[in-house]
Amino acid sequence: MDNLIFAAEVFVNGLMAGVLYSLVAIGFVLIYKASGIFNYAQGVMALFSALTLVGLMNGQVPFGHLINAIFGTQVHHFGWHLPAIVAIVLTMGVMVALAWIVQRVIFRHLINQEPIILFMATIGLAYFMEGLGDMMWGADIKKLDIGLPQGINTGIDSFTADLFGYGFFIDNLDIVATFIAAGLVVVLVAFSHYTKQGRAMRAVADDHQAALSVGVSLNFIWILVWSVAGFVALVAGIMWGTKSGVQFSLSLIALKALPVLMLGGFTSIPGAIVGGLIIGIGEKLFEFSVGPIIGGATENWFAYVLALIFLVFRPQGLFGERIIERV
């Protein structure tokens, strides 16, 4: 009985972790659907946006270390502290500028290349942005606090304590993240169904040439998509950054999102959510039940092996479009 209650707690926590994985995975799906680019840099974009947000909030001088190293000066801070909401808007501006640059400098020249070449280009982009982020804002671990509630949720704790005689530990932040993720999905769905740009985005995802022929500007749509992905990355960056500090390991959440995508299918937003939940729950339960027997830390690979086994039987994932190949 005790074990069952523990398992239930692990289950709920896995659900929450899964929501965060889905958040990253949605960013991948958006770009992939609209441009056929599998964006490995999504995780680094989350890191970069979180770094920028913290840097702006604390009034840090961008490239401060570099300037100091070259000119021998001692500039670190502008000496102001921005309110969170202003900093978020400014960071969004940076992400839009980044989307424009990425489209302009890289992917405009890679149109009609094989998907795998595009994938490798995004790995290069990820490396570049990782270096750039550290160069601009420094590589130390930073605290991100924009006023989201954190710590154990006492309501659930006492409620479950009354019910089972054992209080569940559930972080407030995870609950907030769940609601934000749900809100984000609603906003994205509404955007892509009820606005002109959203419709154009779906048209491009459906068929580039047909969209082009009815007057949709591919260039604009791609910049838009990268901006939206930047926005999703910002939300994910805020969530993960608040949870575990803004640091290099944030970029590794992309690696967590990959098996989610394989499971759910690269082309489906519901797939990303369901896949995220399955992986979140699966890896937590596996670690809880089998982990202690075989040495622990199974979270590193469980998701991948699960996705791998799954793919052998269903190569397009749960909700992916059927893969049809012709010679």
Binding site: L66, F119, A121, F128, G131, M135, P259, Y304, V327
Partner: protein
């Protein structure tokens, strides 16, 4: 004028089928071999061997291996680090279990074991392709590193969880461990590089290589004209993993001597080798060497210029290195998808007509 096939007349089938049909290529190849085998061992010192030559040679083997899989057979793999770890741990277990057997044989066996593991993780390639496969190979990367970290049998229950190479000799000369002779470690690596390049070059220009390239260009079409995708893809995985395993074994036993698996064979190693073949040239043996040389030399150069010359802090130099490597990948993919090897090919085309291009 310097580089031409005119006048280079072949009078027998043996001549016609040789590895380098053009005379200048052959001369370059043999002079490179003579310098590498006959001159450098006498000049090499500790700094050059450890900072440049050994990593270059060992990465060159890994890059050749990965190039066979990615560049020739078109199956993108991000599991290189994991497979190198298999080679390292296999050679460690063999060295400690059978001390009396020659280390060279152990390295070959380690390659063979890695080939088996590679085939196992290559099985999904029969069902999935493209970046689905790339992501699937990440499973190998994470699972293998976890396995070597968590199962004590692999590191002989040592307290630190590290593996340390015991001292082994070849013909009485110490090549592994702390007292190894620099020139001898260099020669061991060179031996395997020469062998790997020779095997790879001859595999890729023969029937097997053509099957791989057919699979790469379009696997369904290749299947229709009679290439067996099972044997071609798994064959590529096996050969590629063999080389990568050998390089991992050398990386541990000869170069580093002691290894902590998560640090040395992590995902960054996979990306590093992948970057080598992108920059060097996909589908080119020469490119594997060029890419390995480039990415081994770049950090050394940056460190000497920025930290040594301009007195920058090391972390800034490291960040700049990330930016430069990332930017180079993108630049090469945009401007010259076939890498440094293609630049060399273009130079040769120019040389054929020089100095009278019209």
């Amino acid at each position: 004028m310097f580089y031409r096939e005119a006048g280079d007349i072949k009078t027998s089938y043996v001549d016609d089928g040789q590895t380098f049909p053009i005379r200048l290529d052959r001369q370059l190849y043999f002079s490179a071999l003579i310098v590498a085998w006959g001159v450098i061992p006498f000049l090499v010192d500790d700094y050059w061997a450890n900072a440049v030559l050994l990593p270059f040679l060992i990465y060159a083997i890994a890059a050749i291996g990965l190039n066979i899989l990615v560049g020739y057979c078109g199956q993108v793999s991000l599991g290189t680090g994991g497979f190198m770890a298999v080679g390292a741990y296999a050679v460690y277990k063999l060295m400690t279990a059978m001390p009396e057997v020659n280390i060279l044989i152990h390295v070959f066996l380690a390659g063979g074991i890695t080939a088996l593991v590679g085939v196992l993780f290559g099985l999904p390639s029969l069902r999935i392709k493209g970046f689905y496969l790339a992501v699937a190979t990440l499973a190998a990367q994470f699972f293998l590193v976890w396995l070597f970290n968590r199962v004590p049998w692999f590191y002989n229950y040592s307290a630190s969880g590290q593996i340390t190479a015991p001292e082994r000799t070849i013909f009485g000369v110490v090549v592994t461990g702390a007292n190894s002779e620099t020139w001898a470690t260099y020669l061991v690596c060179l031996f395997f590089v020469t062998l790997a390049a020779l095997i790879a070059r001859n595999l890729t220009r023969g029937a097997i290589g053509r099957q791989w390239m057919a699979i790469r260009d379009m696997d369904i079409a290749a299947e229709i004209i009679g290439v067996n995708p099972l044997s071609a893809k798994l064959g590529a995985f096996a050969v590629s993993s063999f080389f990568i395993g050998v390089s991992g074994a050398l990386f541990f036993a000869v170069y580093l001597g002691a290894v902590e698996v998560g640090e040395v064979f992590g995902i960054n190693k996979s990306f590093l080798v992948l970057f080598m073949i992108i920059i060097g040239g996909l589908g080119s043996i020469l490119g594997s060497f060029a890419g390995a040389a480039f990415l081994v030399l770049l950090p050394v150069l940056l460190k000497n210029v920025l930290v040594g010359g301009l007195n920058w802090p090391t972390d800034l130099a490291a960040h700049l290195e990330f930016m430069i490597v990332g930017a180079l990948i993108v630049i090469f993919l945009v401007a010259e998808p076939h890498g440094i090897a293609q630049l060399w090919r273009l130079a040769k085309e120019k040389l054929r007509l020089w100095p009278f291009p019209h």
